[in-house]
């Protein structure tokens, strides 16, 4: 027995024998408990119970087949919230990626105050989304808002406008803009990290070969920054698909700009129809996973130098 242990190449460690073998599991037990009880079990519960009628207003809990899915798929307000969510995603992913790329390109080169400016850029990411929505709600205010004031003095509008609450597309755009303000710094950091991993020699070689700035951007920067872009796009996709805080504050209960997360909340915690809430949750979770994988597959390429 003893010889077996000594034969192990893992220096002194194997000698600890029995206790050592259990040690990893002891160290991991809090994690396993947490993840098992509060992440995996709830996920399984969502999946299974989406096929049941679960409502304190309509007991008992009983098997319902696909009826929850049929109900949420035929409900017109919920249908509209899917379309709204698609709009949130498109606006969110496009604006966040472009802004993140822009900010990363500006911050890429060393210059004076760069560290301080980087700190300011990250600021919106650190603040609570609810607080940001309240602050922007005041900026958007139809009677006293600074957005109206600035646009009017620039001559873009002739009267003060209601930005959020009346026109559906405008509402969604301006609510999503608040989220973009928050998450663009994250995209910028991810893209910046990818930019800084590109060796300078590549640009030097390109310059020697006579490539202009645009050519360098197209042929070197863009392809090599793809992994960073992919992660930034997936992040913004997931965050905009899950948009809730900004919608709750700025849109309230109007169906106009309601996102799918908002409807899940309403169905579950206002109507107390947990079964339908589960069905919506499951569909949205699957949509998140599938869309994330699609974007990763489309944009992510392994980069080797």
């Amino acid at each position: 027995m003893q010889r077996d242990h000594d034969a192990s190449p893992r220096d002194g460690r194997a000698k600890r024998g029995r206790r050592g073998r259990w040690l990893p599991y002891i160290l991991l037990s809090p994690l396993i408990l947490f993840i098992g009880a509060l992440s995996l079990y709830p996920t399984i519960l969502t999946t299974v119970q989406s096929f049941y009628i679960v409502s304190p207003l309509n007991p008992p809990t009983r098997f319902a087949g696909l009826s929850n899915f049929r109900a949420v798929l035929s409900d017109p307000t919920i249908r509209q919230s899917w379309v709204n969510t698609a709009l949130y995603i498109v606006i969110g992913v496009v604006l966040t990626t472009l802004l993140g790329l822009g900010m990363a390109l500006v911050l890429q080169r060393r210059f004076r105050w760069r560290g301080a400016i980087l700190a300011l850029v990250v600021l919106p990411w650190a603040l609570p989304a609810v607080v940001e929505a309240v602050i922007w709600g005041w900026i958007y205010d139809p009677t006293f808002g600074v957005l109206n004031s600035v646009l009017k003095s620039l001559g873009v509008i002739t009267h003060y406008q209601v930005w959020v609450g009346i026109h559906r597309l405008l509402s969604i755009f301006f609510i999503e803009l608040v989220q973009v303000w928050q998450i663009a710094p994250l995209a910028a950091l991810l893209i910046l990290a990818a930019l800084q991993s590109i060796p300078d020699e590549l640009y030097e070689a390109a310059r020697v070969d006579g490539a202009g700035r645009w050519q360098q951007f197209r042929r070197i920067t863009l392809p090599l920054v793809r992994p960073g872009l992919a992660i930034a796009m997936v992040q913004s996709l997931i965050l905009s698909l899950n948009i809730f805080d900004q919608v709750y504050v700025l849109n309230g209960n109007a169906p106009n700009g309601a996102s799918i997360m908002m409807q899940t909340y309403n169905v579950s915690f206002v109507n107390l129809n947990f079964g339908q809430g589960y069905a919506l949750s499951l569909m949205a979770t699957l949509a998140t996973l599938v869309l994330s994988l699609l974007i990763l597959a489309a944009v992510y390429r392994r980069v080797e130098f």
Binding site: L27, L28, L38, P42, A126, A129, G145, V249, Y265
Partner: protein, 277 residues
């Protein structure tokens, strides 16, 4: 010419990032009539700190001031406890993943990280029902447990990468002296990992401070409602004037804002370390 272009780009990035915060400060430090002037005033004149004195230093258990101070306290307690619990759990788990060999290691690690992909939808309703069945709705422990389970995967990922970057030779000396892995973790790894642990703790605290939908569902009154839930309710009621609401916003943003500005380097490192792979 190019120098000017770059300067304009830098200024545009700064204005975009900072203007809304400036606007909240501007509104919160002026009177209601000045804040409601058309066209808008870009400097807080007349200047007043009245909104802040209304919020801080009032006694009694009524009104906006009490709602603010109580929910501020709740948010601090909930995020603080969740940070301690998350980092403590993540330290041991990340060390096991980074340094020890055992069966099902990859399975457990990937299983944990896979939960990062799960959106809030997947767990929101069941977590509410689990917490209500064990009587933890509207309690600190209920909220802290839910937060910690959500923050653990990211904390483990950051710490795992940090530990993996520490040369093994550092612990070898301790092992030669007969130390167990736990002693090596406490005496060798944790002391040299302070920046990584600080980054993790800050990120987890900020995530806790920003939580909204889970406490919205899990807290039913002011005994546990954090600031975010109270701010959203006050905004929705449209009774509190915008100057006061912006002052609450500024104070709610102050703690994460100051942390983000002061310890920016750790956050940037943490985000970059956690994401590039």
């Amino acid at each position: 010419m190019r120098g000017y272009g770059k300067a304009i780009a830098v200024v545009a990035v700064v204005v975009w990032s900072v203007f809304p915060v400036y606007w909240a400060l501007n509104t919160s430090f002026t009177t209601t009539s000045a804040a409601e002037s058309v066209p808008a005033h870009f400097v807080p004149l007349p200047f007043t700190a009245h909104n802040y004195s209304t919020l801080i230093g009032q006694t009694g258990t009524q009104g906006v001031s009490y709602q603010f101070t109580r929910s501020f306290l709740n948010a601090t307690i909930e995020s603080g406890l969740a940070t301690i619990l998350t980092v403590a759990t993540a330290l041991f788990a990340a060390y096991a993943f980074a340094r020890l060999e055992f069966r099902f290691k990859r399975l457990i690690l990937f299983g944990t990280l896979a939960t990062l992909m799960l959106p809030a939808y997947a767990t929101l309703i069941p977590l509410y029902r689990i917490m209500s069945s064990v009587g933890l709705v509207n309690t600190y422990p209920g909220i802290v447990l839910v937060y910690s389970s959500g923050f653990l995967p990211l904390a483990i990922w950051i710490l795992y990468n940090y530990f993996a970057s520490i040369p093994r030779e550092l612990e070898e000396a301790a092992f030669v002296d007969g130390a167990t892995p736990v002693v090596a973790l406490l005496r060798v790894i944790i002391p040299v990992s302070t920046p990584g642990i600080a980054a993790t703790a800050i990120i987890v605290f900020l995530m806790g401070w920003a939580q909204f939908i889970f406490p919205l569902v899990l807290s039913s009154d002011l005994s546990t409602q954090p600031l975010t839930v109270v701010v959203a309710a006050l905004y929705g009621q449209r009774i509190v004037p915008f100057t006061l609401l912006n002052a609450i916003g500024v104070l709610a943003a102050a703690l994460p804002g100051i942390i983000a500005l002061a310890l920016n380097r750790y956050i940037v490192q943490g985000v970059m370390a956690g994401s590039i792979k």
